[in-house]
Amino acid sequence: MFKRAPVSFTLAVLCMLLAGTGEPTASALAWDRVAILHGELWRLWTGHVVHFSASHAGVDALVVASMGMAAEPLAGSRRFSQLLGAGALLISLGLLVLVPGLQEYRGASGLAVLSAVLGGQLAWKRYRGSRQLLACAALALAGKTFWEAFASTAGFVELPAGVSVAWQAHVLGALVGGCVAAALYAPQAQDNRG
């Protein structure tokens, strides 16, 4: 697995390791609106690798690793790591600007959705035989996000009381992943690769 998707695997392991360091560390690294506006800019990235609980971290680590297994080999590890870095920043800035009510965010799921959409689109182009499966997965993911956005309740999630699902991070991750996939398959990019 490490050979196939080293960046995703490392990210998943990092999430689990940080989950074991306790609340003070997680609190110091979380995406926190006030702290970021006070200049703690590292939180724009580190908020994506800390979680509210070990269970929360475990779920996100599993999705990051499995989606990375799909996306990373198709995009290339080096490019994928750059995409994750830029994606983390864009998701964080998006949350900062578009979700003014959000005070604190933790979780790697924004990056996981980015990987899922990127990997899904790349696989859609490359693996015609799996399109039905990909379409089902995409519908399930979109349905879950819509449910969380409009029903204001989260289904089957591992978040502690008082913490809601930041579905906006998922939408932002999907947008970034979609844009990156489109850019990778733009004619000019294909020419450069060719």
Partner: protein, 275 residues
């Protein structure tokens, strides 16, 4: 014969006079130490990490007595603790920036539980800040000269030959649970002195000890209010303290185990077909 009777009388007097020494003249102590609770195995001073304390208004506060105990008579009884904490709670209910004050029963706090136990309790009661009330009460017993009349037996019921001195100290330390920082603290002390008959000593001393706690807590409450006002001023200028409104949500990116397993299954299926 006369000499023998004198000796018998003297011996009887000495033996009955011993009634005045029925209670230990050493001090007895009840204590719940905050240091023992939060830093049970600390051999060195705890390392403080430079973190920013963020308080979300209105603050949810928990209040609890530090677990502890005393010798002989045991520690402060749970019902008495609850009554004392109710007094503290009532005096802080008028502040609009305090959302709720929950009294946390001692059973939820493990002796020598440390910050891990504090985290558990904070999650269980959904509080951001916990005020831990530590206490230290020492009781001294002495007999006065009148105690010699206890030998008359009736004297044990009528003569106040036992004296007591109950000294109490309570201290409320308010901690932010997430950053584990001490926000402020306020002490209260009291001294209750009195005398009692031998027969009524136990009842009197229990009352004196309870009064000692009540008086100490009554002295602590205004100090706590003063410290809270000082803290409000300090929070405005201290960069290490940030106060934000609770209208801000806490959000987590999450899939749930079911979603995660489904997505992992899809990734596995695609990988198996094409790689």
């Amino acid at each position: 014969m006369k000499r023998f009777l004198t000796l018998v009388c003297a011996a009887a007097l000495l033996a009955l006079g011993g009634c005045g020494s029925m209670f230990s003249h050493n001090g007895t102590r009840q204590a719940g130490s905050i240091v023992d609770y939060l830093y049970p195995d600390a051999k060195e001073a705890p390392q403080m990490e430079p973190t920013v304390t963020r308080l979300r208004l209105p603050v949810r506060v928990g209040i609890a007595f530090v677990p502890g105990g005393g010798n002989a008579g045991g520690g402060l009884q749970e019902a008495a603790k609850t009554q004392l904490l109710e007094r503290v709670k009532a005096s802080f209910s008028q502040y609009d920036y305090i959302g709720s004050i929950d009294i946390i029963p001692s059973a939820y706090l493990r002796p020598r539980g440390g910050f891990d136990n504090l985290d558990q309790v904070a999650r269980m009661f959904n509080v951001d800040v916990i005020a831990l009330v530590s206490y230290d009460q020492i009781r001294f017993n002495d007999t006065n000269r009148l105690a010699v009349l206890y030998w008359t037996v009736v004297g044990a019921y009528l003569i106040k030959g036992d004296q007591y001195d109950v000294q109490t100290m309570v201290d409320a330390a308010v901690f932010d649970v997430r950053s584990r920082k001490l926000l402020f603290r306020a002490p209260g002390t009291s001294q209750v002195k009195g005398s009692s008959t031998l027969a009524g000593y136990s009842r009197e001393i229990r009352g004196a000890q309870a009064d000692g706690y009540v008086q100490a807590v009554d002295q602590m409450i205004p100090q706590l209010q003063t410290q809270l006002a000082n803290f409000k001023e300090r929070a405005r200028s201290d960069p290490g303290i940030q106060v934000v409104g609770r209208n801000g949500e806490r959000g987590g990116g999450a899939f749930g185990w079911l979603g995660a397993l489904l997505l992992a299954g899809v990734a596995w299926a695609i990988g198996r077909r094409h790689v």
